[in-house]
């Protein structure tokens, strides 16, 4: 399941689960609908576009991520309604000096080295957000 999401992301596709009962888009997909709990879901390709809800520049990282600091973690609200977490590909300085909340972004996947506790032992894929305005 979770590997399918990241494989699709590396192929340039953001996938979600559309609920056949209530139309809610759950992204990344999970076993049940994020709104009504239904199992009646179909995997769909999403627009990959959305806007920044919040973000933080991380200066102190966990073991396995320390070589990547400073990095900007963000929550994005997709046009389809779901929220996802990934990284903003902007400088730490820009992120701290400007208010980027509300900016339009596009999502793409980027591969990083995995670490001992990450569930995918081959690679770690991160949803990246490119500011498009």
């Amino acid at each position: 399941m979770f590997k399918d999401f990241f494989s699709a992301l590396m192929e340039g596709k953001l996938i979600g689960a559309k609920c056949r009962e209530c139309e809610e888009i759950t992204c990344p997909p999970k076993s049940t609908c994020n709104r009504c709990g239904s199992r009646n879901l179909e995997i769909v390709e999403l627009s990959g576009k959305g806007k920044i809800v919040s973000y933080t520049v991380t200066y102190v990282a966990p073991l396995g991520y320390d070589r990547e600091v400073p990095y900007v973690v963000a929550i994005v609200e997709l046009d389809e309604g779901a929220w996802i977490i990934g990284r903003l590909d902007v400088d730490a300085e820009k992120a701290d000096n400007e208010d980027l909340i509300g900016k339009r972004v596009e999502v793409y996947g980027k591969e990083f080295p995995t670490e001992q506790f990450y569930p995918d032992k081959q690679r770690r894929v991160v949803p990246m957000f490119r500011v498009v305005e």
């Binding site: 919040s54 520049v57 102190v60 990282a61 966990p62 073991l63 569930p119 995918d120 770690r124």
Partner: protein, 395 residues
């Protein structure tokens, strides 16, 4: 058959650094203090409910129930380990309470231990991040300061407070909790940072913007223990049983799946309402609160979700002094997680330790006239929430 439940003795180690002790050894120290003030026999304890979050990672230690029981001389009785991230020992306490209330046991031991300080910051930060969504949140390098940094920015936007203004307002949480932590002999920062200024918080090292080092609680080693029993049993043995009047617990999934609910900490509202309902109380009946201030902003949103302030007003409240020891609802007069320390699996029962001591008039470094207290413990990014209401009155 439902029985009233009360706390007998409580115990807590000094919080800070204990590299010289194993988790069971550390817990034993807290247990002995609780046991020695409970006026019971060892054989009165029928089961152990033990909270620990990441013993596997910090100490290579799991299956801790049996080792804890054996360390304190109780080998053979049922001993459970509970894990609910930072709420581990509050989950343990609630389960213990329910077992006594519903007649499974008459007298049990609850507590927790954790050794995050000894683990060091990189391993400690990674260990804490295991309480996030392992596939979809940790992959970006999100950390716990990061979670509350995201929430802080969202809070500022939602309530239309300039971010710099919000940073100043929430810095008062750190100033307040460090003031009391510096007075608490069992706190990690005893005699330290008691005169912290707002500027010190704003100018300390940035961890995850906009949160600085002083917006965060520390990494801590420590243990705590509480002995609970039926109210009748407790009244026969101690002068001042503290009654458990209500408990609540709620859950949620990944941070991003909760969407706007994260600003309002809705699982916490659910948990607090469950506790108030069982106690037959409202937030107005609470005299003092021990709230999960893992970060400055965390205390603010918790104070709103628990019903002490309207949504969006919690940051003003701390700035105006309403949550200080002489305010209308004192919050964390023991220093909280920020001033006292946060040995994750021990934190919930350490809040109970402070609440019980305060209600008995034994928390001698701070004077608050209180008959009823609430605790609030948060595990993960709202994944596990527990609230416990304690009172000097049985009914």
């Amino acid at each position: 058959m439902k029985r009233d439940v009360a706390v007998l003795g409580v115990g807590q180690t000094k919080f800070g650094s204990h590299p010289d002790k194993t988790l069971p050894e550390l817990f034993a120290e807290a247990f002995f203090e609780a046991f020695d003030s409970s006026n019971i026999e060892l054989r009165d304890i029928e089961a152990i409910y033990f909270g620990n979050f990441v013993g596997e990672i910090t100490d290579g230690a799991a299956n801790l129930g049996g080792f804890i029981a054996d360390e304190i001389g109780l080998s053979g009785i049922p001993a459970y380990r509970f894990e609910g991230a930072c709420a581990s020992s509050s989950v343990a306490f609630r389960e213990a309470y329910l077992a006594v209330k519903h007649g499974i046991y008459d007298c049990v031991l609850v507590g927790g231990a954790e050794k995050l300080h000894s683990a060091g910051t990189p391993i400690g930060t990674r260990a804490l991040a295991t309480a996030l969504d392992s596939a979809y949140e940790v992959n970006s390098g999100l950390t716990f300061p990061g979670v509350f940094a995201l929430i802080a920015r969202l809070y500022a936007k939602t309530y239309d407070i300039p971010l710099d203004k919000l940073r100043e307002k929430i810095a008062h949480v750190s100033v307040k909790n460090h003031k009391y932590g510096a007075m608490n002999p069992k706190a990690q920062f005893y005699n330290k940072f008691g005169n912290l200024k707002v500027e010190d918080v704003l100018n300390s090292r940035m961890i995850c913007s906009p949160l600085t080092l002083f917006d965060c609680c520390p990494m801590t080693d420590g243990a705590s223990a509480v002995i609970i029993a039926t109210a009748d049993f407790a009244e026969d043995r101690v002068d001042e049983p503290i009654y458990v009047r209500g408990t609540g617990q709620a859950s949620a999934g990944s941070l991003f799946r909760q969407k706007w609910d994260i600003v309002k900490a809705l699982p916490r509202r659910k948990s607090a309402e469950m506790a108030y309902k069982e106690a037959g109380m409202t937030p107005k009946d609470i005299d003092v609160a021990f709230i999960h201030d893992c970060f400055t902003i965390a205390e603010v949103i918790a104070s709103e979700a628990m019903g002490f302030f309207e949504y969006g007003k919690g940051a003003d409240a701390v700035e105006e002094g309403l949550t200080w020891a002489d305010g209308e609802i004192p919050i964390n007069p023991d220093g909280g997680l920020i001033g006292k320390g946060h040995p994750v699996g021990a934190t919930g029962t350490a809040q109970i330790y402070s609440a019980v001591k305060l209600l008995r008039g034994e928390l001698d470094f701070v004077k608050i006239d209180a008959e009823t207290a609430i605790t609030d413990t948060l595990g993960g990014d709202f994944g596990t929430l527990v609230n416990i209401i304690l009172s000097v009155h049985r009914r």
